[in-house]
Each structure stands twice: as structure tokens, then as C-alpha cells.
């Protein structure tokens, strides 16, 4: 029967295995949880169930451009941002100038993808807490974004759209209209989400003062993205280390304020994502206005990539935080070494530190608020 471990005079504890098949570990994360009744005394994450040798594959590809589809598969809910990061790293390595129209399309796509990714994060977070309906509401909105992507790139999840030096193909003629229409209809939906979920008193009870991540701990663990900003640190690479054309747009960095509980709790991490969607809408609107109407998106795409020996580290802000690519090149047409610094992996490492002493149900809330994608953790 079920074993209960008692060490010395301490209270009896039970070790329980959560995952890799569990509805709330967001994929194949496995947690070894030590429980004292319902209290969590220790958590040990075990990863690697989705390891696909991304970095090794990247070295074995014929060409640098063939790595792009693999970057899609890292964080499969924000594929465009992953491609964007890789393209920027390669362009820096090869010193390629990208046309203005391409930059605008990339930024619009990346921000749409950020909204889609945050919608998924917010929806599944609600689902973890037992609120089923908001999940389907946000999926309706995410669907509209995927429709825009499908019209342009032909794919709905893994796009392979941004390539080194440009784009796979130009956007379709309805792109501007569709995107503007989406942003217009999306704004009221955020308000709806705030009413339905964010300020629901049960939701606040479940998330406020739960899984508090103090600023110092967040910085020590090198967490980034909404997890870091939820602890009140104003750090966003789009502002602090601008890449692409983000320095031309006017937007804010939302940070957690401890509005309903303590600074850095689950609710703060959640609300940062909701506010970031509003900011993304602002960026998209400005980018749509200043986007040049004509231009060849493939004019600077190299036919065959040839590199000189060298190395580059380039970082971008993906929806989950700082996404870095470290590439060492030699004289061949493929990377000598490619290392991806993925935010989910780093953010996941704070889990044992902040979940000690919380309840079993809180653990689910904490995992949901960190918003990990296992494809990116394991690569």
C-alpha cells in the first residue's frame, strides 16, 4: 500500500510523483513532490522528456537557413519569436542590413505571436485553477491570430516564416486590414478577461500571496520576462537593449505592483502578461501606420550562407523572457556550435525555491504562473 516516510521525530511525509503525464504540468515536466499532508515540503523538477537534440542537429544541418524550422519547435507556442531571434543573430554575424518593410512585418508578426502566446498562458493558468470558460474565450482570440498567420505563411503553429536576411514570402494583400481589425476587436476582449478572470474574487484568493518571488531571488536565478517583471523589475530587452526597430515605437513595460497581494506573487506574474498584450496592441498599431507599402522582402536574403570564423551572442525578448542564441561559426555553411539560452529553462529553476511551504493546489498555480513550455526547456 501507500508508503509514508518518517525520518526521526519529523512529521510523516509522502513522496508523490507529479507528471510527466499530468494535466497541469504543461507538457512532460515531472515533479518529485514531498508532501506533508497537503503541504509541499520539497519539489524536484525532472526534465528531459522532450529532449530532441536541437543544438546537435543545428551543427549537422547542411545550411544555416535549415536551422530555422528547428527553432520553431523549441517554443512551439511562440514560433515567430524564436525565428526572429535566430534571424537577428545570423544577420549580426553576417552583417546583413534588413529592409524597412521586412523589419515592420517582423515586428508586427512577433507582437501578434506574443499576444497569442500570452493568451495561451493566461488561458491555461485559469484552467489550472479550475476556470474552464476563460480558456475557450481566449482561444477564440488566439484563433484569429493564427488565421492571420495562416493566410501569410501557410502554417498555423510552426511557421518557418522569418528567414535569415528577410522573409519567406511577402504578406498577403489583406494583412494590414486583418491585423488592424484584429487589434480593434481584441481590445474589448481584454476588458472582458479582466472582468471574468483577473478580478474574480476566487481567482484572486487562489493567486494573491501565492508563490512569492522576491526581486532579489528573481535576479539571482537570472529569470527574465514576465516572471522577472512580475517581481517589479523593469527589464525588457525591447527597451533595455533594443533590437530590430523597437526603439521607434512608444510603449510601456508593465511590471508587477503587488496590487492584490504581495509583490511578485502569482497574480502579479499573471497581470503583467495581460497588460503586455495591451502594449503589444500599441506596437502593432504604430507599426501598421509606419509600414512601407512596397519593397522586396527577399532582396537581402543570401542564396548560400558562407561565414567567416567568429562568434556571436544575440538576445531578444520572447514572450517568456530573454531568448539568446550563441553561435560559433567556422568557414563551412553550418554552425560549429549553436547554443540557445531559453527563458523557460531558467525560469523553471526558481520553482523549488518559491514553492516550498505552499499547498499542493498552489504548486499547480505556481507552475501555471511561470508559464513554461517544455519544448523550450528540453530543446
Amino acid at each position: 500500500m501507500i508508503e509514508v516516510v518518517r525520518k526521526g521525530n519529523s512529521r510523516p511525509e509522502m513522496v508523490i510523483n507529479m507528471g510527466p503525464q499530468h494535466p497541469s504540468t504543461h507538457g512532460v515536466l515531472r515533479l518529485e513532490v514531498t508532501l506533508d499532508g497537503e503541504l509541499v515540503t520539497h519539489v524536484r523538477p525532472h526534465i528531459g522528456y522532450l529532449h530532441r537534440c536541437f543544438e546537435k542537429y543545428a551543427e549537422k544541418m547542411d545550411d544555416y537557413s535549415k536551422v530555422t524550422p528547428y527553432t520553431d519547435r523549441m517554443d512551439y507556442v511562440s514560433a515567430i519569436n524564436q525565428e526572429h531571434g535566430y534571424a537577428i543573430a545570423m544577420e549580426k554575424l553576417l552583417s546583413i542590413e534588413v529592409p524597412d518593410r521586412v523589419e515592420h512585418i517582423r515586428v508586427i508578426m512577433a507582437e501578434l505571436q506574443r499576444i497569442a502566446s500570452h493568451l495561451l498562458a493566461v488561458g491555461t493558468f485559469g484552467l489550472d485553477l479550475g476556470a474552464f470558460t476563460p480558456f475557450l474565450y481566449v482561444f477564440t482570440e488566439r484563433e484569429k491570430i493564427l488565421d492571420i498567420f495562416e493566410k501569410t505563411s501557410g502554417a498555423r503553429l510552426l511557421y518557418n516564416y522569418i528567414c535569415v536576411g528577410g522573409l519567406m514570402r511577402d504578406v498577403d494583400e489583406d494583412f494590414k486590414k486583418d491585423t488592424a481589425e484584429f487589434v480593434r476587436t481584441f481590445r474589448p476582449k481584454i476588458t472582458e478577461l479582466q472582468d471574468l478572470l483577473s478580478y474574480n474574487s476566487i481567482f484572486i484568493k487562489r493567486t494573491a500571496n501565492v508563490g512569492i518571488l522576491p526581486e532579489k531571488v528573481a535576479l539571482n536565478f537570472a529569470s527574465s520576462g514576465p516572471v522577472l517583471r512580475g517581481s517589479g523589475v523593469k527589464w525588457d530587452l525591447r527597451k533595455n537593449d533594443p533590437y530590430s526597430i523597437y526603439d521607434r515605437f512608444d510603449f510601456d513595460i508593465p511590471v508587477g505592483k503587488g496590487e492584490v497581494g504581495t509583490l511578485g506573487d502569482c497574480w502579479d506574474r499573471y497581470i503583467v502578461r495581460v497588460h503586455e498584450m495591451e502594449e503589444s496592441c500599441k506596437i502593432i498599431e504604430q507599426a501598421l501606420e509606419s509600414m512601407p507599402d512596397e519593397g522586396d522582402v527577399q532582396q537581402n536574403v543570401p542564396k548560400k550562407i558562407r561565414t567567416k570564423p567568429g562568434e556571436i551572442y544575440s538576445r531578444t525578448e520572447s514572450p517568456r523572457g530573454e531568448l539568446g542564441y550563441y553561435i560559433i561559426s567556422d568557414q563551412s555553411s553550418k554552425p560549429f556550435r549553436l547554443k540557445a539560452r531559453t527563458p523557460s529553462f531558467v525560469n523553471l529553476s526558481v520553482l523549488p525555491a518559491i514553492s516550498r511551504g505552499s499547498l499542493m493546489s498552489d504548486l499547480v498555480a505556481i507552475i501555471g504562473s511561470i508559464d513554461i513550455v517544455l519544448g523550450e526547456v528540453d530543446r
Partner: protein, 337 residues
């Protein structure tokens, strides 16, 4: 009742079973439809043609065909017995529910007491299932369930007692009969909820408590699917699992019907003599019960779930004190007016 005495008791006892089975098939379909409409989608649309009405039958057929899996190292007797005990407890409680002025399974004078006692068996069957499964998740679910159901029985009983103080009888038929007529302001029915302002408070407490007793959101902690996989049902599959579902829906109906008897006049028509009589009475009664069931579904698809300590806090430091004070106020009101 005299005309029914010639019918064999066994046949009479089948009547609630028929009602439960038809209701369960309907309620599962309705739950999915309600969920669908709340979530801006259609719900089942294919099976059977019109709005997927045969979906529950299809599900039932599928469940019957499933392999009967009993995990190794379970205690086999308890594992097999738990679902049936759970359903039996729900079913037995229907014996004292007055379905219409002509039908009531067993006209005993301690009806309310009997219902409260026999539904306590539900807790035992949940613990039995959780313990017998030899699964840590099941055990956690079962322990939560035990704590929850035992705690929430207190406010439920206090709310029911408040009604009994006003009605003056533990027999549910008598309680229903005293709610006949439309005497308040000449047209409002004499239902208990309209008779005493404090009974409105009692009803709110009663409804919150039955949500917890029947494990519905926001109190569905025993089977909270996002934390405990499926709680005490984790290891169950096929027909045994179907028995749990049937018992859960039967329990929902039972508590809703109890609410309808205690607060909304049972089988009494809201229009006095108009549309009265035994057959109409049955339809009115089921309608009132189903409205309460619908509200439960509505809540389920709207709210997130409480945490286990918050659930206990709500019960012991909010509902129970209020229900005690309310009980005293109702007693005073009855003494004065």
C-alpha cells in the same frame, strides 16, 4: 395514496430509478450543452440528429464496452463495492422525496432526518474508493472529500433545521402540503422562501452547502482535475466510473429536489389550483429541481476552484456562524409572528 397500495412495492420502487436514469442521461447532455453555450460553442451536435440528443446514450454504450480494469495491489472488494455503495446511497435517499401529491416511496415521519443520515454514506464510499485504489492521488482526493463533506454537512443541517422549525414537521409530504395555496398578497404562492425573510438567507446557505456536498465547482476539490488528476476516481474506468458519474448526478438531483421541497413548495403549482393535480405536480417538481441543477451547472462553468484551506475557512468561519445566528432569528420570528 390508497389507489397505489394495490401496486407491488418493488414496482413502485422502480419509479425513482427510472426518473434518475432518464434524468442522468438528460443531465449529462444538458451539462455539455450548457457548457457549450456558456463557452460560445455548440456542444454535442452529431449523435442522434437533433442537437446531439443521443450523445449520452452513445457514451453509455462506449462505457459498457470498455475493459474492466482493476489495478494490481488494490483491495478488490472495496474497490468494486465503492461505486455501488455510492449509487445505492443516492438512490435510497429518493425514497422519502414526494415526487407528486400521489407518489412518495415511503411516507415516514422522519424523512428529512433519513435523507441527511443516508447521504452520509456517500462520504464513506468516497473514502473507500480512494483508499482501495492504492494510488496517492486517489488518497489525497478521498481525504479532501471526507473533510469537505463532513464539514459542509453542518451548515446544510442548520439550513434544513431552519425550515423544519417553520414547517413543524420532518415529513417531506407534510412540509410540501403546508406550502399549498397563494395567500401572500393574494397571488404569491405560500412557498416557505416567501414566508420568512430569514429563510432566504437559509436558502443561500443551503445552496452553497449542497454545491460542496455534491462536489460541484467551486468546491470540486475531491476530483479537481487540474491538481489531483481525477481524485478518488483516478483508477476507475468503464462502468465502475460510470456508476460514480451516475451517483454524482443523482446526488445533484437529490439535493436540488430537497431544496425544491424545503423552499419552493415541492409539487405545488405556482398558480394555485391552476395546472395542479398529481401529474402536473410531478412536472412542476422536476422543473423546480432542474432549475436548481441548471444553476449548479451555470456556476460550474463560470467560476474557478477554491483551495482546500479556503474551503474549510468558508465553511467553519463564515457559513456555520451565519447559519446558527440565522437559525435563532428564524425561531424568534416564528415565536413573534
Amino acid at each position: 395514496m390508497t389507489s397505489l397500495e394495490t401496486i407491488p412495492v418493488a414496482l413502485l420502487a422502480l419509479f425513482p430509478l427510472t426518473v434518475i436514469l432518464i434524468y442522468a442521461l438528460f443531465a449529462i447532455w444538458m451539462e455539455r450543452k450548457v457548457a457549450g453555450f456558456i463557452q460560445d460553442r455548440l456542444g454535442p451536435m452529431r449523435v442522434g440528429g437533433w442537437h446531439g440528443w443521443a450523445q449520452s446514450f452513445a457514451d453509455l454504450l462506449k462505457l459498457i464496452q470498455k475493459e474492466d480494469i482493476i489495478p494490481t495491489d488494490t483491495s478488490k472488494f472495496l474497490f468494486k463495492f465503492a461505486p455501488f455503495l455510492m449509487f445505492a446511497a443516492s438512490y435510497a435517499a429518493f425514497a422519502v422525496i414526494p415526487f407528486s401529491s400521489a407518489y412518495m416511496g415511503s411516507n415516514i415521519d422522519i424523512g428529512v432526518f433519513y435523507i441527511l443520515a443516508i447521504t452520509s454514506l456517500l462520504t464513506i464510499s468516497v473514502i473507500m474508493a480512494g483508499w482501495a485504489s492504492n494510488n496517492k492521488w486517489s488518497l489525497l482526493g478521498a481525504m479532501r472529500s471526507a473533510a469537505q463533506m463532513v464539514s459542509y454537512e453542518v451548515p446544510t443541517i442548520m439550513a434544513v433545521l431552519s425550515v423544519i422549525v417553520v414547517a413543524g414537521s420532518l415529513n417531506l409530504m407534510t412540509v410540501t402540503e403546508m406550502q399549498s395555496g397563494n395567500d401572500i398578497l393574494g397571488f404569491i404562492p405560500n412557498w416557505l422562501i416567501f414566508q420568512n425573510p430569514f429563510l432566504l438567507v437559509a436558502f443561500v446557505i443551503f445552496f452553497i452547502s449542497i454545491l460542496a456536498e455534491s462536489h460541484r465547482v467551486p468546491f470540486d476539490l475531491p476530483e479537481s482535475e487540474s491538481e489531483l488528476v481525477a481524485g478518488f476516481q483516478t483508477e476507475y474506468s468503464g462502468m465502475r466510473w460510470a456508476m460514480f458519474m451516475l451517483a454524482e448526478y443523482a446526488d445533484m438531483l437529490l439535493l436540488s429536489l430537497l431544496g425544491a421541497v424545503l423552499f419552493f413548495g415541492g409539487w405545488n403549482s405556482p398558480f394555485g389550483e391552476f395546472m395542479g393535480g398529481p401529474v402536473w405536480g410531478f412536472i412542476w417538481f422536476m422543473l423546480k429541481g432542474m432549475i436548481l441543477v441548471f444553476v449548479m451547472m451555470w456556476i460550474r462553468w463560470t467560476l474557478p476552484r477554491y483551495r482546500v484551506d479556503q474551503l474549510m475557512h468558508l465553511c467553519w468561519s463564515v457559513l456555520i456562524p451565519i447559519s446558527f445566528v440565522n437559525f435563532v432569528l428564524i425561531a424568534l420570528w416564528e415565536m413573534l409572528f
